[in-house]
Symmetry: C2
Subunit: 391 residues, 2 copies
């Protein structure tokens, strides 16, 4: 038996391991520390009351024979949830049918598993820096990967280049880790590029709930996207579902290559390797899309966006170059005095008792940058910014 | 962009679609019918009280900032659950460490996704008839598949054959659909075969809770299995978790090929394409393995096994050749009068108002057989057997 040798080509991910080690060393040496953790990409506010109610109700259904639910009727989700998500798209002015919504256990799973339905000979285009899952899942399949350089010159928003050939294009907007967001014209350029080359865009919209009016939340706001794009969404940041595990993938019925429906292939993949999302979680997700659910979850998003504003103001006060913060829970900035991300990480940890994430962890173009997260407490975020500003 | 062409080689699964169509036609023509559904592989009893309590408690934790849980610390499960599962193995007399247990969202996902860690050039050996996921997930990867014939002569328990070369061997015991269970000597023969050829056994133990004392529940009861086998388990049938989605995969640290740890590869695969099981579900699963949880869930298993006994007795009364029923929720029998599975399906539906599953749906060797499920109501199971026996 031969194991998949492509796994040997994966870069070992030392980023969070190294961070944890350095933080543990610091706290061991300073037991009375006052550390503020801004490295995490995880939410901290509890689930919305309307979601909790739905969970208790669904749990009670599972306790009685008459209302007990076994297997989902479909691995792609109960009709009640697919309809609720289609309704959410309608509220954004985007036409999506329930049958075009595929409920899964999170954007990470769907973004990772989607590679199954593509031929291994395709060339992949991935922005650098970026969320490591895009690269790792394609390395596992032995695919050729090209990089689109994101940097200060293009505001960490790379655009299509004439000579660049690609079959599968990953776009993450708002971007993790940079927080940069594409505008309508920029996304139209990517859609035009994909249509011209018969490429597919994998659009990761996990942070769409942080986008302010005027900028696109969905790739399907862009004409032509229905014929070239797959969109991945998550309730992790929208509704604090990181521990709940629920997301959804949207594939329009127009999306086909050589006459083969992409949605049908994904449905077949999921039907063979997935068995649907937990019933209680599907009811919880349905509650997120109720009017009261949207109101309550947007309160939490507004709280995190308030933290991001505190960080944005501090960046401006210090005159640091940055992206994100306006439409994203992340602020991505150039480290002062030409420091590397790791040098500045050590400085922040040892001198300011703040934990960030060095940009080097997200790709070569992340060097010299730092990511700070707005998912913490407002008072602590303010305190952290004061500490940094004091220099 | 090229789609994965292997998907075109999948056989269209018309089985359950055709069954649903026939049943719908019958109920439309006979609105006052008294149909007994024995085709389903889904549980019908509600979750155990101790599980429901754990779910309410965990839901309340998610409602408060102080006790809220975000991402799992590890995509392979919280330590509390991995320890509980290791403890369950200990109660079977099998030594498994918590770090050798990988919690996932169901055996179907894990059995399907495990193919990622193997090279595509491996030859797969799959019993026929069998659960279709083994074949489909390997067809998607473009692998060569060989079949091990299961039939009346070998009691639907194929054994290794001298000339048969295979790198990856699927074993499902108790088998779905036949209900046949390997004994210790038979599993030892498979382990010896795998060790000799440096093959890996993928052991699907989803129905292990139906196995009576004296027969192996885990492949790791067999000496040498730690060096050649991966075991897949599920709480779906053990604890009625079909709508909850929780299973676990056990890979012993001894399992390695050319010095590469299989567990490490699986961990890396899951770390990139999975983000852990829902927190409430992990707490629910923990409750299953508590002493009270084991008592309560075994009550449900005993109820289903009681139904299976009713079916077994009916098979004996009618003198039909059958397997399963003793250590399995399925009874698999030869249709009377040389009927094909589909002919007998039509007869049972139209003359007896009983829905079964024709064996043809599980592979060519399933022809002329029928699967009946014990997951229904006891009174209805008795009534169904009376109807069949009346002839």
């Amino acid at each position: 038996m031969k194991l998949n040798g492509n796994f040997q080509n994966l870069e070992q991910s030392y980023l969070f391991v190294t961070i944890a080690k350095k933080v543990n060393e610091y706290t061991a040496a300073h037991p009375e520390n006052n550390l503020i953790r801004m490295g995490i990409g995880d939410v901290t506010l509890p689930l919305a009351p309307v979601v909790i109610q739905a969970m208790h109700k669904a749990t009670d259904e599972m306790a009685k024979k008459e209302t007990f639910r076994g297997y989902s009727p479909d691995s792609s989700g109960y009709p009640f949830l697919r309809e609720a998500i289609a309704g959410y798209y309608q509220s954004l002015g985007v036409s999506v049918e329930p049958g075009e919504v595929f409920v899964g256990d999170g954007a990470k799973s769907d973004v990772g598993n989607i590679v199954d339905i593509f031929d291994n000979a395709n060339t992949i285009l991935v922005p650098d820096p970026v969320y490591p899952v895009y690269v790792d899942t394609n390395v596992m399949a032995g695919r050729k990967i090209a990089y689109a350089d994101a940097n200060m010159e293009n505001g960490f928003l790379p655009m299509p280049e004439a000579g660049q050939s690609a079959d599968i294009v990953y776009i993450c907007s708002p971007n993790n880790p940079t927080g940069a967001v594409y505008n309508r014209d920029q996304l139209q350029a990517w859609v035009d590029y994909a249509l011209e080359r018969e490429a597919v865009i994998l659009f990761d919209a996990a942070y769409e709930s942080f986008v302010s009016p005027g900028l696109p939340r969905s790739i399907f706001e862009i004409p032509g996207a229905e014929r070239c794009a797959i969109e991945f969404c998550s309730l992790s940041k929208t509704a604090g579902f990181t521990g709940m595990r629920c997301g959804y993938t949207v594939i329009k019925k127009e999306l086909a290559f050589e006459g083969v429906s992409v949605a049908k292939l994904w449905e077949r993949r999921q039907g063979s390797k997935f068995n649907g999302v937990n019933y209680v979680t599907q009811r919880a997700a349905e509650a997120v899309f109720s009017p009261e659910g949207i109101r309550q979850t947007q309160e939490a998003v507004a709280y995190y966006k308030g933290n991001a504003q505190v960080m944005v103001q501090a960046m401006r006060d210090m005159g640091l170059w940055f992206t994100g913060g306006e439409n994203s829970p992340y602020v991505w900035f150039q480290c002062p005095e030409g420091k590397s991300g790791w040098e500045y990480f050590d400085y922040l940890l040892n001198e300011k008792e703040i934990v960030g994430t060095p940009g080097e962890g997200f790709g070569k173009n992340g060097g010299g940058c730092m990511r700070l997260s707005a998912f913490g407490d407002t008072e602590k975020t303010k305190e952290a910014m004061e500490r940094i500003k004091r220099g």
